[in-house]
């Protein structure tokens, strides 16, 4: 009887122990077509968490607290994302959530987190809609965004990426382009960004073909032949790895040699691997290039990732670097808030006093107080943190060598 009582007491005491950790949920697709992004984000985040925990944890008020990780695989499915968000929203002591690759998953799940005020850093989903869904809209129908928002983003949103893609096409001297996109929320919102950007940059590009496909499609001949027949000099494209590879392969098959310029997903390992030599020359905005020699911090991050996960190439370098930096920023916010309460962390994130040294850059006040009239208040990335990458023989390199020099100079400062 005594042992039973003792066991019972221990069981009751356990939740009290759990309060001595900072609970962070890492979510994302760890399987399926988006898995390279999901697993790289998770693994990048865990590298940062391991470093923080090895140093004793985060200084929260007068004690040091270690980070406890909760992992959830949303399989890139919207309905799984909604279920996971509901589950996380019902956890009483969750400090925050980092993750989500797919815009559809974000749209399905984040409202549950926002309702409970749980801090979430969307990383690396880039679809503009993830944050603009909370912003004011003129209508119809008019929409007024919430006064406070616990959702932040840590990725170069498609607005920036779309602008860069259109710039690049103009720089290459194109006048006629095709727009290709997949039928998911990500693809459709990417198409809208591209069309808006073409207009914003002075209608220098004529869109001669607009084609879409579904996730899982393998044969893109029809779409490509239409673009070829219309004389498109380049394909501006928004989709994910496996289908992008099918397009690169289809392009080679019909002898249609024009570049793919698109979202950062063109750097996914399942694009690079499945397209092989046909994938060369694809251009995409990148927040991080897996290349040593730019700064010691970047070198260490790349070596640590390779050693810890026993790979010689990060499946999605951008995701890994963003996952890493997102954790550092979140930890800094916990420290400043002196609390693991999500609402206090949100306030701290909106006014981060100490700059955070990440692998992408040094983050100086990445966010500001949420303003529903300006969604960029909760966006960390601006144009200067993004460079153009290019697929070359199985790796992503700098498309413009000047970017490499710029990053080196910045790191040396």
């Amino acid at each position: 009887m005594k042992t039973f009582l003792a066991a019972l007491l221990c069981a009751l005491a356990a939740p009290a122990l759990a309060a001595d950790t900072v609970k962070i949920a890492l979510t994302g697709p760890f399987s399926g077509g988006s898995a390279p992004m999901g697993t790289s984000t998770r693994d990048g985040s865990k590298l940062a968490i391991a470093e923080i925990n090895a140093a004793g944890g985060i200084q929260v008020g007068d004690k040091k607290m270690k980070i406890e990780v909760i992992e959830r695989d949303d399989e890139a499915k919207n309905e799984r994302g909604a279920l996971i968000a509901q589950e996380l929203a019902s956890m009483p002591d969750l400090a925050g959530v980092i993750g989500s690759v797919n815009t559809g998953v974000v749209m399905a799940g984040d409202k549950h987190l926002q309702e409970k005020g749980i801090t979430k850093i969307i990383c690396p989903a880039a679809g503009s809609a993830s944050l603009t869904q909370w912003a004011n809209k003129v209508g119809p129908p008019p929409f007024e965004g919430p006064k406070t928002l616990s959702i932040f983003r840590f990725a170069a949103h498609d607005g920036i990426q779309g602008a860069m893609v259109v710039e690049e096409a103009i720089r290459l001297g194109f006048t006629k382009v095709a727009i290709f996109f997949d039928s998911t929320n990500y693809g459709v919102s990417g198409r809208d960004d591209l069309l808006n950007q073409i207009k914003a940059q002075g209608n220098k590009l004529e869109v001669v073909a607009t084609e879409k496909w579904n996730i899982g499609d393998k044969d893109m001949t029809a779409q490509l032949l239409k673009a070829k027949a219309a004389g498109a000099q380049g394909i501006l494209i928004w989709g994910i790895g496996p289908e992008l590879a099918a397009i690169a392969n289809g392009k080679a098959k019909i002898g249609y040699n024009v570049p793919l310029i698109g979202g950062w997903t063109l750097s996914m390992s399942n694009y690079i691997d499945n397209a092989g030599a046909n994938g060369n020359g694809a251009l995409m905005p990148q927040t991080f290039i897996e290349e040593k020699g730019i700064s010691p911090k970047i070198d260490k991050f790349i070596s640590d990732y390779h050693a810890t996960y026993k790979v010689d190439r990060i499946p999605s370098p951008v995701s890994a670097a963003q996952g890493y930096d997102a954790v550092l920023i979140f930890a800094e916010a916990v420290k400043q808030a002196k609390s693991t309460d999500s609402r206090k962390i949100t306030v701290a994130l909106e006014d981060l006093k100490t700059p955070v040294k990440g692998v992408i850059t040094t983050w100086n006040k990445p966010y500001s107080k949420w303003d529903p009239a300006n969604f960029e208040t909760h966006e960390a990335f601006r144009r200067p943190q993004v460079v153009m990458g290019k697929v070359l023989d199985g790796r992503v390199t700098f498309s413009n060598p000047a970017d490499r020099d710029r990053l080196k100079a910045q790191a040396a400062k």
């Binding site: 399987s31 399926g32 898995a35 393998k218 001949t221 392969n249 080679a252 019909i254 691997d273």
Partner: protein, 292 residues
Amino acid sequence: MPGSIIAQMAVSGALMGLVYALIAYGFQLTFATSKSVNFGQGELVMVSAFFSLTLITLGLPYLLVIPLGLLFGAAVGMAVERTGVRLALEQRSEGWILLTIIIGLFLFSFAENIWGRDDRPFPTPIPSTPFHVLGVDVTPLEVSVLVGVLAVMGMIELFKRRTLLGKAVEAVAADRDAAELMGISATRTIVLSYALSGGVAALAGILVSPITTVGPTMASALVLKAFSVAVVAGLESGFGVVVIGLFLGALESLASFYLGSGWREAPGLLLLILALAVRPTGVFGKAVIRKV
């Protein structure tokens, strides 16, 4: 729209259609002898492709991988017959429908757990750089599909007509009871037909994988179309599935070009409904008078 584009679309589509035809042929083989088909045929295509991929990553030469892959498919086909079909047939029940679906689901989970959920490239020594024939770009990979499908179907048809064992298969297909009275074991013939069907499915997997990549869901769309082909062509005619397969494949890609890629599947389904309404025995099928 220039004629060359139409020709290009039709040829690319028709060559993919041959893969539907090959899978449909697998349905015909077992239906002829046992009046049953394996509803998990798509999963059989998929596990055979994964098995062959594993052999390739182990470093085996492609020419050795093909026969081993076919043997693997045949073995799985026989296992399906033993576990899912034989008992049901002995009891004259339709239980094989559900059992073969269940075996398919099992193979699906098996593949997900062993090889993961991701689509993977299938390396082959056959190049995919296109060459130009009569105004149309064709890749050697697509030609390999054409050659592989026609060679294997031709060999099986010859086997059925020229060898004693093949004639036994034909006899069981024509009249099971009479064949048994002549001393032919219907059970063993059915096993043989399932083995052939499994081998054919494996070949379909090996031929299509370099074009579409390998993944657990790779065959779900293929097998639906193969069903359409089998039903439209009729469950008796090997020649019929080739013709209908080519036709359906070309129709699909022309539809995705003219109507938009979202309408790709529509003409095939319309064709299926039409065939069922007008010629339920299939375009190349013979109406069988069943004596009661």
